[in-house]
Subunit: 227 residues, 2 copies
DNA sequence: GTACTCCTCGATACACTGTATCGCAGTAGC
DNA sequence: GCTACTGCGATACAGTGTATCGAGGAGTAC
């Protein structure tokens, strides 16, 4: 192509300054607004006015970015309180609240080992709170609380999303799932489920979480006292 | 285009017989062999010798297919035992073992409300086992056990995968993560973590799971006895 | 001041995804 | 024998993560 018709190279704007932190923050914002599946490298790059491939200077893989996002949320979890029970409770509640602020967190939590600095700091706080307990029991105790929190958060967020997905009011939900459940119950195969759904008081999510956590901590308390 | 150069329509082979069940079984096989991300509608259709769009007669959406896969796994979970504690334990262990057979199950569990017939049956068994317990406590108890199982399974599978990903032997893992952790510990910011990692007996996954579940069931036992 | 080298950027490309559209072939009804 | 319908699947679309590679800017050696 002749020089005359060859376009000049666009004189680049000063390349936008970038950093791992900025990338992660942008990704978190995107995920907060529109969910995890709205997070793509192209969209992040777009939001930063940058070519998509530029990001690969800062991360090797999208999974790595997700790990960084998870660790960023862990940074929001600040333990508090005195004594192992208070600290563990505060960490659990703070984790749950972080998941409320970042629902996508529920999609990732527990899905990969968390070795980022903030996750380690969280773990450190938990283990430190268990100082004095038999060293061989500390690990499984922390693992159990983690497991409970992971599962409870996922359950809760999943339910919340399902409710929200059925339009903003509850009517749509009852119209689609109600009849299905009624039909299922009508088969007579789920009598216990039926009575519980019909007769039991429906606790809200806060109470359910706290009650379950209380059970677990009670059991742990008894276990480490006996050990 | 002239007739002469227009190819005859391939005389179709008798369309392969299809069913939701067959589709789900195929998807499960694919996921068992190569993980969830190897499951695509095109691959399923390919394995069934069928056009991809054909599947949409049986499912509306890929998410629906995932729900069906999850429910198929729930069908493998058969409760056993007498008394609430035995039944809940057996359901928990069976769920964990199902996740060992289908690692991708860990990626989906807890991610969406489970309303499939097999999941309901599992729930029914749990609630039936809690017959006699105060009806208002039954639900949170079941939710707590579910939460624990979900989280424990995810944690365990995540760890197992991470170990396996570092080559088949442990050397590679120690070479990459070892130094990182050593460096982290060297900062002195994680003393409790460090002592636990260094001094504590390392329980295997079976024991960890059982111990945590035991704590939770102990707490529940105390709670429903007191209530 | 000039030539050369390196590094960094991003355009392009590739293989793949879930799914909307739509024309066509086979079947059923008359 | 014709017509209406149904269900199949080829094609298309917009999007994904990431490999490749040419070109330009920055830095260094003389």
């Amino acid at each position: 192509m002749l020089v005359w018709e060859r376009p000049e190279p666009a004189n680049r704007p000063a390349p936008a300054p970038l950093s791992r932190d900025l990338i992660v923050r942008t990704a978190v914002e995107l995920a907060d607004e529109a969910g995890l599946e709205a997070v793509s490298l192209r969209k992040i790059a777009g939001a930063l006015d940058v070519g998509p491939m530029r990001l690969y200077g800062y991360i090797d893989t999208k999974d790595e970015l997700l790990d960084l996002m998870v660790d960023a949320v862990h940074a929001e979890i600040r333990p508090a309180g005195d004594g192992w029970r208070e600290v563990l409770t505060s960490v659990a509640e703070a984790t749950r609240q972080a998941a409320h602020r970042h629902e996508w967190f529920a999609d990732l939590i527990g899905g990969r080992p968390q070795l980022g600095p903030n996750a380690l700091a969280r773990g450190e706080a938990v283990l430190a709170a268990l100082d004095g307990v038999d060293v061989d029991v500390v690990m499984p105790v922390a693992a159990a609380v983690d497991a409970y929190v992971i599962g409870a958060v996922r359950r809760e967020i999943a339910e919340r999303r399902a409710e929200r997905a059925s339009g903003l009011d509850q009517r749509q939900w009852q119209r689609t799932h109600g009849p299905y459940l009624v039909r299922m119950f009508a088969t007579g195969r789920f009598p216990a489920l039926e009575t519980v759904v019909r007769d039991a008081a429906h606790l809200d999510a806060d109470e359910t979480f706290r009650l379950g956590l209380g059970f677990l901590l009670d059991g742990i308390g008894a276990g480490i006292a006996a050990g």
